[in-house]
C-alpha cells in the first residue's frame, strides 16, 4: 500500500513538472478545437471590381485565419450556391406532415437550399458558427465592398447579422488589399481580438551579407517596404526599437564612426539628435512606456552598464551595477518599472529582470546555454527571448516565459537559427528572424508557434521591431 502511495506522489510530481513547463504560461492563443468556426465565402465583383476580387478574398481569409480567433472551415466543404447579401437567403418550405401523400408526378421536397438556406451552412458538412459573405462592385471609380457576418446559430436570417458594412477603396490591387484588411479588422475587433493590419514592422536590411545595414519599415503583412536610413556605411545601422506611440524609433549606428544611438521621428523620417555620452559604445536603445525616456547599454567607464536618459539623451544615469556585460535592456510596457535584459553576470549570456532603480536583479533562465533578445508582451506578463537551451552554442530558438511563474515553452525547434522575437500590438503574434531558408529573413507566427509566415525575401533582413 505504501509503495502505491509513493508511486502516486511521484506521478503527481512528474505531471506537475510537465505542466509547469507547458500549461500555465497564460498565452492568449486558444486551442483550435475550442474556437468558434468561421466560413468565408469568396466575394464576387461586378464590372471592373471582378479583377481584384481574388486579392480581396486571399487577404480577407489570411487576416481572419491569422488572428487565431477562429477554427476556419475549408472552402471545399461549401455548397455550390451562396448568398451575397442577407436578402439572398431563402426560407426552406414548411415540413410536410409525416403521412402526406404525394402524387407520383410531384417532385420530392428539396433537402437543401444549395447554399441559400441558413441550414446549408449551419448543418453538416460545413457546420459553421459564423458565416462571412458579400460582394464587390465598381461604382463611380470606387471599389465598393459590402461585407456581412452572420451568426448561423440563429434560426432565421432576421436576427443573425453581426456585421453589415461598406468598405471603399481604389479600383486596384491596393484598394482590394485595403478593403480586405479593414473588413478583417472589423471582424477581429468584433470577436475580441486586436487587429494588426495597419501596424508596421521596423527592421534591419542588407543587400549583401556583409554590406551596409540600414533601417527599413514595412507593413505587418510584409507589404510596402521602405528604406529609412541612408548612411551607406559598414557595418551600418541596426537594433531598432519603436516608441509605444509609434512616432519615434531608436537604433544603433556606426554612421559617425563609433557605435552610437540615434533617435528618429518616423513621419517624416528625421534625426532628432540624441545626445550620446562619451564612450566607445552606446547602443541597444529602447523607450519607456510614456516615450519620454530611453534606456540603453554603454561602455562608459567599462563595458557595459544599462543607463536611463531623457528621450534626447540628456540627464543620463546608470542603472545596473558595473562589472558585467549588461545588454539589450527593455522596459515592461505595462508597469514601466521592470527591466528585462541579457547579461553575462553568471557566466554565459542569460535573461534577467531588475527594477528600474537597479535593484531586485533576478535571473529568469536557468543558466543553460545562452539566452538573449528579451522582449515583453503588451500586457507585461510574458517575455519572448532567444535561447540555445538543448542545442549547441549559436543554435538559438524562440521561447516564451511567464515572468511570474517562470514556466516557459519552446516555439521553434532548430529550423535554422531563430532570434530576436518581438510581440505584435495584439499580444498574439510574434515577429522574429530566422535563417531557416538559407538567408536571414523576418517571419511572423502566432504565440503558440503555429501559422509561421515569411515576410521578407530580398537580401538579408533581421532584428524586427513591431510598432503602430
Amino acid at each position: 500500500m505504501r509503495k502505491l502511495i509513493w508511486l502516486m506522489v511521484l506521478a503527481c510530481g512528474l505531471l506537475a513538472v510537465i505542466f509547469a513547463q507547458q500549461g500555465d504560461i497564460n498565452i492568449l492563443v486558444t486551442k483550435t478545437e475550442s474556437r468558434p468556426k468561421m466560413a468565408i465565402i469568396d466575394f464576387h465583383g461586378s464590372g471592373d471590381a471582378q479583377k481584384f476580387a481574388g486579392t480581396f478574398n486571399q487577404i480577407l481569409w489570411s487576416d481572419v485565419e491569422g488572428s487565431g480567433l477562429f477554427n476556419m472551415v475549408s472552402k471545399s466543404l461549401y455548397p455550390a450556391g451562396y448568398p451575397q447579401q442577407p436578402s439572398d437567403f431563402q426560407q426552406p418550405p414548411p415540413l410536410e406532415p409525416p403521412n402526406a401523400r404525394r402524387k407520383r408526378s410531384q417532385a420530392p421536397p428539396p433537402v437543401s437550399g444549395n447554399g441559400l438556406w441558413m441550414s446549408d451552412w449551419a448543418g453538416a458538412p460545413v457546420s459553421t458558427t459564423y458565416l462571412t459573405f458579400g460582394f464587390a462592385a465598381a461604382q463611380n471609380g470606387v471599389f465598393v465592398v459590402r461585407g456581412f457576418v452572420f451568426d448561423m446559430r440563429q434560426p432565421t436570417p432576421t436576427g443573425a447579422q453581426v456585421i453589415g458594412k461598406n468598405y471603399l477603396g481604389d479600383i486596384s490591387e491596393s484598394g482590394a488589399r485595403k478593403t480586405a484588411h479593414e473588413f478583417a479588422c472589423d471582424i477581429i475587433n468584433q470577436f475580441g481580438g486586436k487587429c494588426i493590419a495597419g501596424t508596421h514592422i521596423y527592421y534591419t536590411h542588407q543587400n549583401t551579407k556583409f554590406g551596409a545595414k540600414e533601417i527599413w519599415v514595412m507593413d505587418s503583412d510584409g507589404g510596402n517596404p521602405r528604406q529609412i536610413t541612408h548612411y551607406n556605411n559598414v557595418p551600418g545601422s541596426n537594433f531598432v526599437s519603436v516608441s509605444p506611440d509609434g512616432s519615434k524609433i531608436a537604433f544603433t549606428s556606426y554612421a559617425h564612426g563609433q557605435p552610437e544611438i540615434f533617435v528618429y521621428s518616423v513621419d517624416p523620417p528625421r534625426d532628432l539628435r540624441f545626445y550620446n555620452q562619451r564612450a566607445s559604445m552606446n547602443g541597444n536603445p529602447s523607450f519607456s512606456p510614456d516615450g519620454q525616456q530611453v534606456i540603453y547599454t554603454s561602455s562608459a567607464n567599462g563595458c557595459c552598464r544599462i543607463f536611463i536618459a531623457n528621450v534626447n539623451g540628456t540627464g543620463f544615469r546608470p542603472i545596473s551595477p558595473p562589472g558585467y556585460i549588461d545588454a539589450e535592456p527593455k522596459i515592461n510596457p505595462k508597469n514601466g518599472r521592470d527591466i528585462a535584459f541579457s547579461s553575462d553576470r553568471s557566466g554565459h549570456e542569460q535573461v534577467y529582470t531588475m527594477n528600474i532603480d537597479g535593484g531586485g536583479i533576478e535571473r529568469l533562465t536557468d543558466g543553460q546555454g545562452e539566452a538573449s533578445n528579451p522582449a515583453w508582451s503588451p500586457d507585461g506578463r510574458t517575455l519572448a527571448f532567444a535561447w540555445t537551451r538543448g542545442y549547441m552554442a549559436g543554435k538559438f530558438n524562440v521561447f516564451l516565459m511567464n515572468v511570474a511563474t517562470r514556466s516557459y515553452i519552446q516555439l521553434t525547434h532548430d529550423e535554422g537559427r531563430n532570434e530576436n522575437p518581438v510581440f505584435a500590438p495584439d499580444g498574439v503574434h510574434l515577429a522574429f528572424s530566422s535563417d531557416r531558408n538559407g538567408s536571414e529573413q523576418i517571419y511572423t507566427m502566432l504565440a503558440d508557434g503555429t501559422a509561421v509566415q515569411k515576410l521578407t525575401s530580398q537580401g538579408y533582413n533581421s532584428n524586427p521591431a513591431w510598432g503602430k
Binding site: A80, N114, Q139, P259, R270, D271, E349
Partner: protein, 274 residues
Amino acid sequence: MSNRFQIPTIGLAISLALFAAGCGKKHTPAPPPPPPPRPTTETGPSGPPPSTTAAAAPVITQFTAEPTNIQIGQSSTLRWQVSGDVSGVTIDQTIGSVQNTGSRRVFPSQPTTYTLTATGGGGTTTATATVNVAEVPPPPPPTSTRPMGTGGPRTIQSVIGSLQDVFFDYDQSEVRADQQAVLQQDATALKAIVADFPNATIMVEGHCDERGSAEYNLGLGDRRASAVRDYLVQLGVPADRLRTISYGKERPQCTDATEACYQKNRRAHFAPGE
C-alpha cells in the same frame, strides 16, 4: 438486366453520382452579382485656395561643403545661408529640416551631392554641394628584409598592418597567457610607431565569432578591445594614442562554421585611427 450490361451500368451510375456530388460547383452557373449598392463616397472641396500675393522666391546666399574632397571615414562641413521670404529649408540625404542659416558635419562614405531646398511664399529655390570621397590608398608592399624601426620607408598603414592580432577564448575577454608574448611584441612596435608618427592614433578593434547574439557581442568586442588597450598601456604605450572600437560579430575574417574560423574571429585587431 442481363449480365453484360450490369457492370458498365453500375459504373455509369457511380460516375454520374460522383459527378453530381463533387463536380456540381463547376457546373452551377455563378449567380450574377447583385445590383451595386448606392454609393456612399464623399467628396470635399478640390484644390488648394488660390494664392493672393506675388512674392520673390527665397535667395540661397551660400551652400558649400568644406572640404569638398575627403578620405573615406573623414567628415566635411556643410554651410548654408538662405534669405528672403522663407517658410522652410530642408537638405536631403536624411538631414531634413534645418534653420535658414547653419552648418552640419557629414560623413559620406561615397561621393555625395547634397541638395538644399528653400521654400517660401514666392516659390522654391534649390542649390547643391558635392563632397568627393577618396578611398584610403592601399599600403605599399612591406619591406620584408628590414626589421621594424631600423630605417627604410615606413608608412603608417604598413607598420600598423604588421601588428599581430590578439586571440581570445569563447565568450572571454581576458588576455590569455599564450597571447602575452604577442602583446609584448605589439607594444614594442607601437612605441616605435608613436615615436615615428607623432600625429597618428591607433585603433584597437574588438571582434567576436558568430555564435552569440549580435547585441551581446557588441559588448564582448568592446571588452576585448579595452583589455588589449589596457594591457598595452601597462607595457608603456601612451594611452592617448590608442582608441578602441567594437565591431561585435559584424566584420568576421572568415565565415566557416568551424572551430578554426571561430578562433580567427575572436580577436583584437589594429587599424589606423582617424
